[in-house]
Each structure stands twice: as C-alpha cells, then as structure tokens.
C-alpha cells in the first residue's frame, strides 16, 4: 500500500488577498492567492487549503470568484473554508471549482449542516475543521476562530461529525498554532485511531522533523502548515525529500 502522506500548505485569505508574512521572491504580487497557490502546486504541494478570514459576510462574496481563478490555475485538489454556514455557500464554492469545503463553527451551531452537505455533495468533499485545545488533561473543541469554549470533548464531536457524514478531519491544536514547537502528536493519533476517515494534523509545524513525527507517532494522514512555508523556513521539495529518505511514502 503506497498511499502517500500529504503535505498541505494553508493560505489565509482576507478581502481576497493572502495574509501572513509571505516571503517569496519571484512572485510579482505576494498577496495574490492565485500566484501563491500556483507556486505551491508547482513546488509539489499535494493539496491546498484556502481559509477565508474575511470578517464580514458582505466582503466574503468575492470568495467564489477567487476560488474559480485558483481552480483554473492549479492541477491539485484544494479545500476552501471560513465562514461557510449553509448548503448554498457549499454549492457556490464547489461550483466555482473547490474540491472540498471545510465546516467549523457553523457545524457546531447546526450539526445538521454536516449531513446536509454530505448528502447533497458527497462525504468526500466535506471536511470538518476542529479547533482543539488541551485543558485539564483533555482536549476540547473551541469555536469562532478558537475564541469560544464549547465544553465538548474533541473526540466526541469528531466521532459525531463522521457519523453525520464528514469525510475528513482537519484537526488544529490551537495552543500549538504558531508556536513552531511541533504537532500535538498524542492527540492526533488518538483522533486518527478513533475515526475511519483521514485526519489532517495542523498547528505547531516548526521543522521537517515535526512532519516526520506527526506521520509516525501522530498517525496523521496529512499535515498542514502555513507560516513555515510562507516564511521560507522550510521548502516543500526539501521536506518531501527528507520524508522520503526517512521511509515515509510521499509524492515526489
């Protein structure tokens, strides 16, 4: 079995532009998500996630046209998330060319949304994004960009969402996010072993060894990172070569 472990750069989008310190020479407009997506695809990214962090619903309406331009530019799958709250939102983004959409806070408010999206479009395009935080020895779900505690155990919510039709889990350990201190390995393994769908680990990538750990000790199917790629701390070809040499199946 040679199913490859996937490396997934994440692009944060605000008002149609990428945010976070993107540092690439040779990109004419580093704030242009289309150019950045094409760059990562060409560098060997296995998938991309576009996360819209635009604050207002009004400004978010431009997202579908951005998704359409990304879909034309790249030849790898990509997921779009951020503020998706209805089956209509899902339909609009899939029709624009997204391969998958991710649901987060809206699914917590209305768990039926997971099932409705899976029924209408198939589980394969429904990613449940979960912001998870360690508190008093266990991991709990947070909503609204990690700001609000829900009091729900992460493993319970993930199991429920998979039963409702989520086809993949994007698990972000929010107390690791941005720390570059490594992924939450035990938690990732616990969740990956609790469900029958792929789990994408997110939060904490700081070096290539962290990716190796999350694929071995963490049992993740894929790993997502943003800053480490944007700031050119780690290049995708170097990371993949390292993983391959370390015995991990990756697409090179």
């Amino acid at each position: 079995m040679t199913l490859a472990k996937r490396i997934i750069p994440c692009l944060d989008i605000k008002d149609g532009k990428t945010v976070k310190g993107v540092q690439f020479e040779g990109l004419r407009d580093m704030g242009d998500p289309v150019a950045l997506a094409a760059y990562y695809a060409e560098q060997g990214a296995d998938e991309l996630v576009l996360l819209d962090i635009t604050a207002t619903h009004e400004k978010r309406k431009t997202l579908a046209s951005l998704v359409a331009r990304v879909a034309l530019a790249i030849d790898i799958p990509f997921t779009v998330g951020g503020g998706i709250s209805s089956p209509d939102d899902v339909r609009r983004l899939l029709e624009a060319g997204a391969d998958k959409i991710s649901l987060n806070s809206a699914a917590l408010r209305d768990p039926d949304l997971v099932g409705a999206a899976a029924l209408a479009f198939g589980s394969q395009c429904v990613v449940l994004a979960v912001d998870t935080k360690m508190e008093a020895g266990d991991w709990y779900v947070y909503s609204n960009g990690g700001r609000e505690a829900t009091g729900r155990l992460t493993r319970d919510w993930v199991r429920e969402a998979v039963a409702r039709g989520a086809g993949e889990i994007l698990l972000t350990a929010i107390n690791r996010d941005g720390t570059r201190s490594g992924f939450a390995l035990d938690h990732t393994r616990h969740i990956a072993e609790a469900v029958t769908v792929p789990v994408i680990a997110s939060g904490g990538a700081g070096n290539k060894e962290h990716f190796l750990e999350v694929f071995t000790e963490g049992a993740a199917d894929a790993a997502l990172a943003a800053g480490i790629f944007h700031e050119k701390i780690l290049a995708l070809p170097e990371l993949k070569q390292y993983l391959k040499t370390s015995g991990i199946a990756v697409r090179t």
Binding site: A4, D46, D75, I76, G97, Q124, A222
Partner: protein
C-alpha cells in the same frame, strides 16, 4: 472535431474543463445527444453516487447513447464505474461497456481511498511518457477488480483497476484533472488519440 464533456448530475465538469484549458483545449460542456454524438472526443467525468447518476442518464437517454459511441470516450472516477456492468453502490445496474462489477472496499483501511497513490503495470496509449509508480490523485469508496480490460493497477488493500480500456472506451479511476503533471500528460495523451 471538438471535445465534449458530458454534463450530468454527478459531474465535476468544471475541473475537467479547467484541466483541458490548461492544455490549451477549448472543450464544450453538453448533455445534448446530437452534440455528444458529433464530438471528436467525449469525456464522461463523475463525482457522486452511482444510483442517482444512472437514473439521470436513463432519463436523459444517455444510457443508450454512451455505449454506442464510436469516437474516443474517457470515463473518469464515477464515470469509469458507470461504464461497468453493475455497482454495489446502491445496487445499481450500469452501462455495461466493461464486463466488470464495481465493489465496495469494505473495511480494513480508511475509506474513501483519498489521496495520492501509485500506478503500476501501465499498458495503454494513455500512459505514454508516464513512468511506472507515478502518483495520481484518488477519491473513491468503490473499486473495479483487475480483469482482462485493466490497463493500469493501483494497490489499496488489494491491487485493483486504475484504468480500463476496450476498443474506443478508456476509463480512469483516479482524477487526471487533479493529478499534477502526470495527470496532465494522461489527458494530453487522450487528446492525441
């Protein structure tokens, strides 16, 4: 002689259209019988469930048209499965172009089979210039076992058909439109048949 991408209720027509655009091919998207019959090449994409897709094809009369086509036809993912005889998905009778049944992966590994996996035993003009063990992108829960018409295999729990060919009918279980340079080459090869 233009290329028509068949529009139906389970199509990822936009992704295939975009991939052809990147190759410089201006395809048309249509579900019109005369349009499809007159096309130089036909692409039959698919994402979704077999039962509703076959019901749509029957209602549109495409279930009779597709097996009668004589130009190169390329089925992708669900499109390939619908070109087989029968699918366990929804206990569905399909088009019967390939004398094969479509089975569920069952348990034993994560399903759907999602992500990049490798191609082996390549034997079709579609794979000209594509290396053995090239990675391509898969998303599927049902598979076609290996058989006489198999022209490439992939291993997930067991070796199964990554590609089929019979006469002018070609089919791929993976998504060439999402498979990076290897996928682009395969689509280019189809356009050169």
């Amino acid at each position: 002689m233009d290329t028509v991408i068949i529009q139906y209720n389970a199509g990822n027509t936009r992704s295939v259209y975009n991939a052809l655009q990147r190759l410089g091919v201006e395809a048309r998207i249509s579900s019109d019988e005369a349009d499809i019959r007159a096309a130089g090449r036909v692409i039959f994409p698919g994402v979704g469930a077999a039962g509703p897709a076959m019901a749509f094809l029957r209602a549109a009369g495409l279930d009779k048209l597709l097996p009668s086509l004589e130009q190169p036809v390329l089925g992708i993912c669900l499109g390939m499965q619908l070109m087989c005889r029968y699918s366990e998905e929804g206990d569905t009778n399909c088009l019967g172009i390939f004398d094969q049944d479509v089975l569920h992966f069952g348990t034993g590994a994560k399903v759907p089979h999602t992500g990049w996996n490798t191609l082996q035993h390549l034997s079709s003009p579609l794979f000209k210039g594509v290396d053995e063990n090239s990675y391509v992108y898969y998303v599927h829960s049902y598979y076609v076992p290996q058989g006489k018409t198999t022209t490439a295999s992939t291993d997930y729990m067991l070796p199964y058909s990554a590609a089929l060919q019979k006469d002018n009918f070609y089919a791929l279980q993976f998504h060439p439109e999402k498979s990076g340079p290897a996928g682009a080459r395969i689509l280019q090869n189809f356009m050169s048949l």
